[in-house]
């Protein structure tokens, strides 16, 4: 079972804070060019182009929506046909037991319902939310500041060099994170 309160593996790395998205975007491109893997950014809103800059893969959520939507619709239709024509067929207003036109609205609604709720579920799963254990790196990151985080990775990790590199990206503040 998924536990939002369970402790996550510790967060270690270097955080660079920026005051405006322009600088952030430029820095992100540099981070990627410099070959840092697993770098992440924290922004108060979705800054367009940032994922591309950081080389983050495209989200797989649309596939969930599509597949779940279609299965929802299929299940809805199947359920209607099964209850109306097989489980207990009842003559209603002289209509055929499988009154397909009448089943369309619910088929559609089932598709949307399952597709939509599963999209939300997929978002939570993809982001690992809810997650109350990861520390807030800085309160301003949901307000007016932007950050790039380069996690400690592998044996050839060099904190000093990373800090040095980030200083060169016009970061307004640098922090070493040991959470």
């Amino acid at each position: 079972m998924f536990n939002p309160f369970a402790k996550k593996p510790p967060l270690r790395g270097v955080l660079a804070l920026y005051d405006d998205p322009d600088t952030l975007l430029t820095a992100a491109a540099q981070v990627r060019a410099h070959g840092f893997t697993g770098a992440d950014a924290y922004t108060p809103y979705a800054v367009h182009g940032l994922s591309e800059a950081l080389g983050i893969k495209k989200s797989w959520i649309p596939f969930v929506t599509l597949i779940m939507g279609l299965s929802g619709a299929g299940l809805g239709l199947y359920f209607q046909i099964w209850t109306s024509a097989y489980d207990w067929p009842i003559n209603v207003g002289g209509k055929p037991f499988i009154s397909l036109p009448a089943f369309i609205p619910i088929t559609f609604e089932c598709g949307v319902l399952i597709g939509g709720t599963m999209t939300l579920a997929a978002l939570l799963v993809a982001c690992g939310l809810p997650d109350f254990s990861t520390p807030v790196l800085d309160r301003s990151l949901t307000n007016d500041r932007f950050a790039i985080f380069i996690p400690e990775s592998g044996r050839d990790w060099n904190e000093e060099r990373t800090l040095q590199f980030l200083k060169g990206t016009n970061a307004s503040e640098l922090r070493v994170v040991r959470a």
Binding site: I90, N91, V92, G93, G94, K95, P96
Partner: protein, 1051 residues
Amino acid sequence: MSHVSGTGNGNGSGNGHANGKPSEPAVIRLEPAAPPKYWTSLADLAGDPAVRDLQSREFRTPSEDPTEVPSRRDFLKFLGAGAAFAAAGCARKPVEKILPYLKAPEDVTPGNAVYYATTCGECPAACGALVKTREGRPIKLEGNPDHPLTQGRLCARGQGAVLNLYDPDRLKSPVVVDRATRAASAGTWGEIDKKAIRAFQQATEQGKAVVLLSGTITSPSTLALTHDFLSTFPAAEHVVYDAVSNDALARAQELSYGERLVPGYNFDKADLIISLGADFLATWLSPVEFARGYSRRRRPESGVMNRLVILEPSMSLTGTNADQRIRVRPEDLYPVAMALAHELLVREPRGGMAGDAGVVQALRAFPADGVETTAGLPQGTLTALANELWAARGRSLVVAGPQAAPAAHAVALQVAVNILNSALGNEGVTVTAATASRQSQGSEEAMTRLVERMRSGDVGVLLVQGANPAYTLPTAVGFAEALKRVPFVVSFAERLDETASLADVVAPDANFLESWNDHEPRRGVRSLTQPAISPLVDVRQFQESLLAWARYLGKGPLGASTASWHDWLKERWRTEVYAAADAAAPFEIFWEGSLRTGVVAVGTPAPSARPFRSGSTAGLPEPGTRADGSLTLVLYTPTSMYDGRSANNAWLQEVPDPVTKITWDNVALISPSRAKQLGLTGPTESELSSEVILVDAGHAKVEIPVHVQPGLHPDVVAIAIGYGRSAAGRVGNRVGQNAFMLAQATGGRIGTAGISVKVSNTGRRASVAMTQGHQSAENRPIIYETTFAEFQRDPRAGNESHGTLPSMWTRHKYAGHKWGMAIDLTSCIGCSACMVACRSENNIPAVGKKIILQGREMDWIRIDRYYSGDPENPDTVHQAMLCQHCENAPCETVCPVLATTHSSEGLNVQTYNRCVGTRYCSNNCPYKVRRFNWWEYSRVPEKSLRLVLNPDVTVRTRGIMEKCTMCVQRIRDGKEKAKALGVAVVDGDIQTACMQTCPTDAIVFGDLNDPLSRVAKLAKNDRGYHVLEELNTLPSITYQTKVRNREEANA
């Protein structure tokens, strides 16, 4: 809700089944083996702690006892009681057998109905009836199919009569009234008897008369008993008085033919019926018999179709069915009748009577053109009618309403009718004295004479039975004042009615369902009344009271008799009916057989024409002059209320008047043109209230709401009698206005028409609970009609049905039965018997005026009444409208919870317990026949009213939809009966309640899949069509086009 009645004990989510708490009948069973009196009673038991305990347990509310869910559980107790009850019935003294009907099961099995043959006691028409009982409770009245006159049919009032049995406002015991203070207190029978005996002795000592004042008594045995009883006293008289009287008719018969009687009328032998203000399809004499006879000769397919012409001032139910309707002021009815005779016998002398100088002399003053001028009729109207009559001589019938003409003309009008019938050779054919009616014997002259005698102090004891003169006699007669001069008055009324509250003692008579009796509605037809239940309250049958008193007095022919009334009746049958019936079997077998069939035909002399006494035309009034357009009042007898005797019956109050469609009220009817002139509008579709007008007849006045009634003569104001009772009970009190007050009493005659009145607007408004606000069918495909001539040329005439319409879907198969119905608009007269039958069969609550004003009436079957043509004298169509059981039912498709679905037998079934009450089905029903339970109608404080419920039909709870089920419980019963016998269901075995009672056979139910069934043939016949066919709902109900017997389609 004071007006609610006839509902059950619905509880919570479930619908309390109509089981009826085991109140009175169950208790009676617990009576000690030898009860002190003839009838066991509640009062006797009240002291018994065991009974008190049982009662308290029976009526415990569910919350008091968590282990017990009330209704069903009580029902079972009651079921167990059922068998014992039958046994207790046998233990009664005297020991009687109550025999079931021939085809009914041998004994009482809980859950199975037992039918008893009896006679309807609602009015003196005395139609044959069957009482359906369940576990010892009468729950429904149906016509007795073996009865030669009514052939298994009942009218609306007959269908409603069963409710009177359970009326909580019936007297529960004898009552002693203090005449000074008019305070009534419960008495005992011993007390009553003592008082009565003393009064009888005093009257005898003082030489004062003992007078029995009764309504018409159709029972020969009762008449014999009263005769024997009265003969005990030196001065005694039996005065018969009917509020709705045929005195003028009987008097005219006496003048014209020598014997005072009301003849038998054979409407089934008449091709041309002319009615001068006689409402014979609704209220006159024997409406069920007449409607049946009338409709039997009104089958277009048979090639013969009678023609009905009515000349009337008001708009009666018969008038709405007329092929030709001529509006005549009440004062002109007599001249018009005379003018018709003038045409036949004077202007163009035809037939034997033309040689009768006396008659011809009397007719001279009535030339047709002159009368047409004074009556405001188009020239030639009467000539044409007379020619028609002559063409149909011997096959025609002229009748006149004894109360339709002013008092001064009442007898004269009837004499004129006698002239016509004799001249046309109808006498002895369509009018027969050999089968004379006993259904109306009242004499207005005798009544007014009695009031004089009472006033003079001549009357020592007055016994009042089956009459309510304090209510029905016009104030001018002074009955109440005269009554004060009578030292001792006994009333036999079953309630403390207007007259009973003026009496000294009330010795409540038993309801007819608790009584023994016999009836002879027409000479040669003897029927029996047998109790279907022991009295629910401490009452004693009227005859039993007379016998008891005679015994106490110890004098006269009854003085030594120890017989009970039952013995007496049986003995009369032994000596009288058994002898005349010429039966082969021993008497006991004959008696039991008579109880089973309920009716015995005794031989009558062959009908023959009586010679007309020409002397009877002497002294007939002269023709009047042309009316000045002043208003004249007509008091008419309403279909459901009759003379107001059952005003406390909510079922009957709730039946809309078939013409006005107004419930719970009487109103003043005026014609559209007069309304316009007076600036009155009456109630409308969107405004169920109306101006209150003051109708001033000089000697009396009433304030009453007005209704604009098409078809009324512009000079006429018509008001229904039978309303405005002050002592009918909680339901019937203060419903409408008492119009009897407006009647005139002149020359020993009560005049109910042609009373000059003034009308003024009071400026106030009153609500009018009208169930149909829109009068026109708006040329929609609802009603198709044609004329008989057109029909003979092309049987499809007027029928715009197209047969099958295309559909997206293939139709479902109905392999077994497929129930359906056919309704013939030509036959349907709108009498509304089906509405009350349906209400009784299906536990439909009466909801009361307030709720009807909210547009929430509950009838499953209603009669739609549409007018067409000239609003001043429109054509009328009555259309019974009920669930059409559409094959493509629009209601079913929209129900979200599958509460209404289609059965494999083609029924549109409603599962009440599944219904959540979206009302979508009703919205989507093009016929709007579904009824919603807006309130909890099943919660009735009066437990006795629950006893009338049919246990086979679920009582509906609040918040659910209900509608016609085509009496699915009757279908089930019919199928179960056939299955038990191992045979197929035969057409006619299963009848819906509406079909069963329809006096004109307009409703036919059956299996559409059975090619031999009547309904299958009717569904395919050329007149058959579906209402709103273009919607392709494929109704299971086929209507037959309305055929009118006249020249043009829309005259």
